[in-house]
């Protein structure tokens, strides 16, 4: 297998603002890698760097083609990126889909190959090949853009929130086509999405970005401030439903707490009111409603999403069957975690 990308001390700035700062990054060949994180966390920037359409301000991304011969030419021809709102050329669907083939100097069976690519994304070629760019809906345009990438049979397919602004059918087609590329040709797929459940289901590995930094490999819980310093030197955060999280060691009122999902323990809530207790040496506990259970493909574990007010917590449920059978969405549950394992970001 091996790595297809590796980078050390990667930094990217726009003007004076640092938007991405990664100490180390490795992406394995033939895998599906998910990028998650809130808006502005650096996902799109990282994808543009991986696509070599921008160069990092510091550091270098090494791309390792299957034949072992590193070259910028190989990277340019083997890697392709589809942005969140991809640009369609002001031409027909056929011209759009075969553009990448033409710039590679290919001229054989262009229409046949375009038709095949359109079928992958669920667009009937007869109805679409001759259509012009303005005769497509948003979802169709997105699928045409994906077909223009798939027709190249890329070694790396980078997808920046491919389903963010499309209808459900288009989203499903786009997801299927991306997964099929990975299965059929061994394409390495790096996909960013806000649909974390889909990412957990399909990805072999996850990268969790926050404020331009890698904070973990997936479902880390991020608790933003403000934190209020109490008289006993602990820091409290008031949740939307009135519960209070009390943690030690916050570096300041605007600090960000990071809690790994396997640190959270899930229990059925006892009858009566929740009791948000958090002395220094006692695990912190909040109560909420279990929203969803998702299989994390990479680990084979179940991820439970719990709503506490408007905040969402993600906990990993241990693999044992008895644990899984106890929980179902809609239940009142408590989340408990040891306060000493909370990481703080400034």
């Amino acid at each position: 297998m091996g790595w297809i990308y590796q980078a050390e001390n990667l930094q990217h700035r726009y003007g004076t603002q640092t938007v991405l700062q990664l100490d180390h990054l490795s992406i394995e060949r033939h895998k599906i890698v998910g990028l998650m994180g809130p808006n502005g966390s650096g996902k799109s920037t990282l994808l543009r760097l991986l696509a070599f359409v921008e160069s990092p301000s510091r550091g270098r991304i090494a791309y390792f083609p299957a034949d072992g011969r590193q070259s910028s030419e190989a990277a340019r021809l083997q890697v392709t990126l589809m942005g969140q709102e991809p640009y369609l050329l002001k031409r027909t669907v056929l011209a759009n889909v075969v553009y990448g083939l033409k710039v590679r100097g290919e001229s054989e069976n262009l229409e046949k190959r375009a038709a095949e690519a359109l079928q992958w994304v669920g667009l009937p070629p007869r109805a679409f090949l001759k259509r012009r760019w303005f005769e497509l809906s948003g979802g169709e345009a997105q699928r045409v853009a994906l077909a223009a990438r798939l027709v190249l049979r890329p070694k790396v397919l980078l997808l920046d929130e491919p389903t963010a602004s499309v209808d459900m059918e288009s989203a499903q087609r786009i997801r299927e086509a991306a997964l099929r590329a990975q299965r059929q040709w061994g394409t390495t797929v790096v996909v960013s999405s806000h649909d974390r459940h889909w990412l957990f289901e399909v990805c072999d590995a996850m990268l969790h970005l926050f404020k331009g930094r890698l904070v973990g490999s997936g479902a880390e819980n991020i608790l933003l401030g403000p934190w209020r310093r109490r008289t006993d030197d602990l820091w409290a955060k008031l949740l939307e439903d009135g519960q209070e999280l009390v943690l030690p060691g916050a570096p300041g009122p605007d600090a960000i707490a990071l809690i790994a999902p396997d640190q959270l323990q899930l229990n059925l809530a006892p009858e009566g009111a929740p009791s948000p207790v958090a002395p220094l040496d006692v695990p912190c506990r909040v109560a909420g409603t279990l929203l969803r259970l998702t299989l994390e493909r990479a680990s084979g574990r179940i991820l439970a999403t719990v709503a506490v007010g408007r905040s969402l917590f993600t906990a990993k449920i241990p693999c044992g069957g008895s644990h899984r059978e106890r929980f179902y969405p809609g239940q009142r549950v408590t989340i408990t975690f040891p306060t000493e394992n909370v990481q703080w970001l400034v």
């Binding site: 696509a51 359409v53 990126l81 991809p86 050329l89 002001k90 553009y99 990448g100 710039v103 990438r149």
Partner: protein, 229 residues
């Protein structure tokens, strides 16, 4: 007003009978404007692309300079070209003064800033995603350039039309560096100026009609092409 109507009737007669002097001016005009437009488009489209597409130090100053050149008076261009190609000028030995090439050179200076500025504006107006899409589909420098210009084709055509309108109707350059020599460098505009001064309205009106007709045909052809693409 009768003389104007008579002039109009005579103009039709001159055009329909193929009056040699009138057609010589038309031919010279078409010849010099073709040269100047070819030169200004060949230089101006890549120049406009570079100015609109790339970020570089001093870009704002270059843009201001180009925009200022949009208002260059034709007589000033005529004066500058004259100074360069007259016997005492640095290019005096080339023998260009009072030739169609001299007019074409001046008109190129007139049209170039128009093409550069309007093409740059058209390129700047393109979606930022275009560049990322093209690069991520494997396009290289010249392929990005050609595709971007094609995507901005309506703006590029508008730039060419505006420039053509300016070179077709200018008098100052043609008069100063062309010398308005009959059968040689007399263009439609210099002929109109001359004939009007002599009180010969017919030829002036005839050439004016042809100027309008050329502008009309060019615009209609480009509008047709625009619809097709």
């Amino acid at each position: 007003m009768n003389y104007l109507i008579e002039g109009f009737v005579k103009a039709l007669h001159l055009l329909l009978t193929g009056h040699p002097e009138t057609f010589s001016a038309i031919e010279t005009t078409l010849q010099v404007t073709s040269y100047s437009m070819a030169a200004s488009l060949v230089l101006g489209i890549p120049g406009g692309f570079l100015l609109g597409y790339h970020e570089f130090r001093g870009k704002r100053a270059v843009r201001t300079l180009v925009d200022t050149c949009l208002a260059l008076p034709t007589v000033l261009i005529g004066l500058l070209v004259y100074a360069f190609i007259s016997r005492r000028g640095p290019l005096g030995t080339w023998g260009l003064l009072f030739t169609p090439v001299a007019i074409a050179c001046g008109q190129t200076i007139l049209a170039l800033p128009i093409v550069v500025a309007l093409v740059a504006t058209a390129i700047e107006g393109l979606d930022r995603q275009l560049r990322i899409s093209l690069l991520s589909l494997g396009a290289r420098g010249h392929q990005v350039l050609m595709t971007s210009i094609w995507e901005a084709r309506h703006g590029v055509v508008a730039a060419a039309l505006t420039a053509y309108g300016r070179v077709l109707t200018e008098v100052g350059i043609s008069m100063m560096v062309g010398g308005n020599i009959k059968w040689h460098t007399r263009t439609m505009t210099t002929a109109i100026a001359l004939e009007t001064g002599k009180g010969e309205f017919a030829m002036g009106v005839a050439l004016g009609l042809v100027l309008l007709a050329i502008a009309f045909v060019v615009n209609v052809s480009l509008a047709f092409l625009k619809r097709r693409t």
